[in-house]
Symmetry: C2
Subunit: 219 residues, 2 copies
DNA sequence: CCATTTATGCAACTTAGGTTGCAAAGCTAG
DNA sequence: CTAGCTTTGCAACCTAAGTTGCATAAATGG
């Protein structure tokens, strides 16, 4: 089903998108109570310190979750793809605290916004919701662990290559439309260093560099 | 209640220890089905690649959770204290995968071992269990986030000082009984570097160094 | 008490990664 | 087409942290 179909028939679209993980009556409740939100590429959906009103579930597209410290240094933590929700957001809902992360859309995306008060209600009412939430926490912990592994044990050139292939997989294209500066921010490094390492990767024949664009020859 | 009292009266001890977070009937089930396990200081409770049979809940003492990569490099992730359980372990239960972390007791400790098959049963049956598990995931995610912050944004000397104060708080003593080598392993650094930085901290007057021991003058 | 092990100190050196400053190349809007 | 902005390249330099090798010093066990 496409975005156009969603507008024509929210009921069928959401049943289609969610039935493999959530039970029917829950989806009906979701249809009644939730809103669909369209975001454009590189839109900041949520910032550190924001308060949450909704639990977002990604219907289409992909979202980038990153951490930001007081000095404005940034670090990419993980991605959220279709069908997933954001565990860090869940926390904010349950505990009514402010966001500790920043969420940015990586491409034009479609989000299902569920009012946070449903979290607890459904937690007690629907088994599939419980499983969905647990699964979500599980995925996030695992991915955060992978991030820890990367920054603790890997060298920057390895992390860079991993970053590029991750992006390629996620966006389904061997061409990564980023400036060196943007890559440096995601990896919490500096532009000069990333340029240097990219140049080395190009010499090794692993990538091709163009303006605003890195091209991988395979994933 | 003390450990001795536990042996005399498991029923009262566990009700005492758990009633502030779990409901009575659930505690009764726990008493029937779970075992209490005593571990000694620095005992390896769980290793990377181990399979889980039990969900552990820390009754007394404290546990150190660390990550280990293929080359044997280690990194301390977070601690588990009394009343807490291990979210990484929970995952293994739900998905029946092998442990991705290593658990070491930091002092003589007391663990409540719950058979993993109860996880799902109680998840559907007891509201307080659901809240306990969610709370646990929440705490772990937050702490893992703190760890990411530390390794991504802090310099090693800052991390070292944080490590020392964390240990002091956790074990309730200003004297930290570790060799430089042990500290180096927890922080994924090398002995020489840690010795160097400790020496600097001593010169700055923040710590005193003794054989097998670091002394903080305050937390 | 001595021999051995374990812990710490010290010096010299290497390296990954960060910083600064500037030049050149590519875009883009008037 | 030109002026100005953005992106990338390049060189020189700096620093935190890791490595190697060896010298002490403290504990430990016979």
């Amino acid at each position: 089903m496409t975005r156009t179909q969603l507008k024509e028939n929210k009921h069928d679209y959401l049943h289609d998108a969610l039935s493999y993980v959530l039970e029917g009556p829950l989806i009906d409740e979701i249809i009644k109570i939730s809103q669909v939100k369209e975001v454009f590429a590189d839109e900041i959906i949520l910032n550190v310190g924001d308060s949450m009103q909704y639990i977002p579930i990604v219907l289409e597209g992909s979202i980038k979750i990153s951490r930001e410290n007081d000095e404005g240094d940034e670090l990419l933590l993980y991605y959220i793809e279709g069908g997933d929700t954001c565990a860090m957001t869940l926390q904010c809902c349950v505990r009514h605290t402010l966001s500790e992360i920043k969420a940015t859309s990586m491409e034009d995306s479609l989000l299902l916004m569920i009012p946070i008060e449903m979290m607890e209600t459904w937690m007690n009412k629907y088994r599939s919701w419980r499983e969905f939430i647990l699964q979500s926490y599980h995925t996030r912990l695992t991915e955060l662990m992978e991030t820890v592994d990367a920054i603790a044990f890997m060298r920057l050139d390895e992390r860079l290559l991993k970053y590029l292939t991750d992006q390629a997989k996620l966006l389904g294209s061997l061409e990564i439309q980023h400036t060196h500066q943007q890559i440096a921010e995601d990896l919490h490094s500096s532009r000069v260093v990333i340029s240097r390492l990219l140049k080395q990767l190009e010499i090794k024949g692993k990538i091709k560099i163009q303006r605003n664009k890195i091209i991988l020859d395979s994933i």
